[in-house]
């Protein structure tokens, strides 16, 4: 029951912050509302007994990715004040498309009979996660690390100033 109350609180915060991310007139405000979204998603992970993922979410997403976005905002000299034109001319069609998509997705998610356990059971320990990551999924893990290395080298090459 307490889980349901916390789920409701974090859902309200999450949806408010997500709407503000895409409607805010100031891009810096958007980035800070994105941090709020990420913290609410981390709270969901704690409700789902995935504490390690919650820590990773806050450390990497809220700590690194959003800071990177703020640095890029500084480097592109975006005006920090209010900007008058933040949306293009497709706002009404975009809203219709996303509402229809949400209706269809929500209907089928709700009507589908999911073959799941009825109650949440106690989550796995960090040992289970690391064992799974380094035994069953060790090849995707290595591939992901190579992708990250290549992406960072590529980012440096793209952003470096030409002589």
């Amino acid at each position: 029951m307490a889980g349901l109350i916390f789920f409701g609180i974090f859902t309200v915060l999450l949806l408010f912050a997500a709407v503000k991310v895409v409607t805010s007139r100031n891009i810096v405000h958007s980035a800070f509302f994105l941090i709020m979204v990420l913290f609410c998603v981390a709270a969901y992970f704690i409700l789902l007994f995935a504490e390690f993922l919650a820590a990773v979410q806050i450390l990497i997403y809220a700590g690194a990715v959003v800071i990177l976005v703020l640095f890029a905002l500084m480097l592109t000299r975006a005006r920090v004040g209010e900007s008058t034109e933040v949306a293009n001319r497709q706002v009404i069609p975009a809203a219709i498309v996303s509402l229809v998509l949400f209706g269809v997705l929500g209907y089928f998610f709700y009507m589908e009979k999911w073959n799941v356990t009825s109650a949440l059971i106690k989550g796995p320990s960090l040992q289970d996660i690391s064992g799974s990551l380094f035994r069953n999924f060790v090849l995707p893990f290595e591939v992901a690390s190579v992708i990250l290395l290549a992406a960072l080298v590529g980012a440096i090459m793209l952003a470096i100033k030409e002589q």
Partner: protein
């Protein structure tokens, strides 16, 4: 009692908000932020299925870790491209980036 459908519907809402942002914003960095919303919706789905369909391999949580890794790589590359484009054509608005479109 928490049910799987609640998480699925909330993640669908987050996904659709992200789609709306991608379709309607003009600044490129706001597009990247909307893509982050979409990726977070996907991660919620993975973790929810992992919690409600317990297996010994924990596939959902491991894939959530992979998605976070790839999102970091994607943001790094995307911001490098944005900075590079800004240096060349002095704009960060999506409709001004039309040099490839003759």
């Amino acid at each position: 009692m928490l049910r799987l459908e609640y998480f699925l519907i909330i993640s669908a809402a987050l996904f659709c908000i992200g789609i709306f942002g991608v379709l309607s914003r003009r600044h490129v960095i706001q597009l990247l932020l909307s893509i982050e919303l979409i990726l977070n919706a996907v991660i919620i789905n993975f973790v929810a299925f992992s919690a409600f369909m317990p297996t010994t391999k924990l596939t959902g949580q491991v894939f959530a870790i992979f998605i976070i890794t790839l999102a970091a790589a994607e943001v790094g590359i995307g911001l490098a491209i944005i900075i590079s484009v800004y240096r060349n054509i002095k704009t960060a608005k999506i409709e001004d980036m039309k040099i490839l479109k003759w």
